[in-house]
Symmetry: C2
DNA sequence: GCATTTTGTCAATTATATTTTACTTTTTGT
DNA sequence: ACAAAAAGTAAAATATAATTGACAAAATGC
């Protein structure tokens, strides 16, 4: 359920969870929870994250079995 | 803000709001609100809708100014 | 090894997505 | 024109996304 693509995209820009959280104006815990796969963010937040990380929805949030863990 | 692509994709399959609502197990009002653009659904619900309608997240929920009204 | 940053985690609160019921307005078919 | 289905709308209740604060564990740099 982990979103490793999000983690990777963030790493590619050398951003910490805190950096991303501030960029999209949510709490650090929210970013952590999304990466961990604990719960489902709103589409609005997903879009904000995509814009900051320079990715599309399909690239970060489309789910095929290839891109997930656990 | 209206999501006309969702409406169109639904029309293409000859599904009513009620049909789609039942297929993704939410209320008809939720589908209506999403099409109207009133609020932001969760990514999980967006993914369910995509699967039922045979579209990707980018096709239905990516926002460039081309695809929206008002 | 030590200090600092980053990440992981938890509980309690707040904001908001979603439901339910109910009613009105449009659309569609005959 | 009429009936039936579909779509639009609204208020109150419920479920859950997101916040906040605080602390522990792991990673990074010196």
């Amino acid at each position: 359920m982990k979103n490793l693509r999000l983690k990777a995209a963030r790493a590619l820009l050398d951003m910490s969870q805190k950096d991303l959280a501030e960029a999209v104006q949510v709490s650090r815990q929210t970013i952590h929870a999304i990466e961990k796969g604990d719960y489902n963010p709103t589409i609005k937040l997903c879009l904000s994250i995509c814009h900051v990380l320079g990715k599309t929805l399909d690239e970060l949030f489309w789910e095929d079995d290839e891109n997930e863990v656990e």
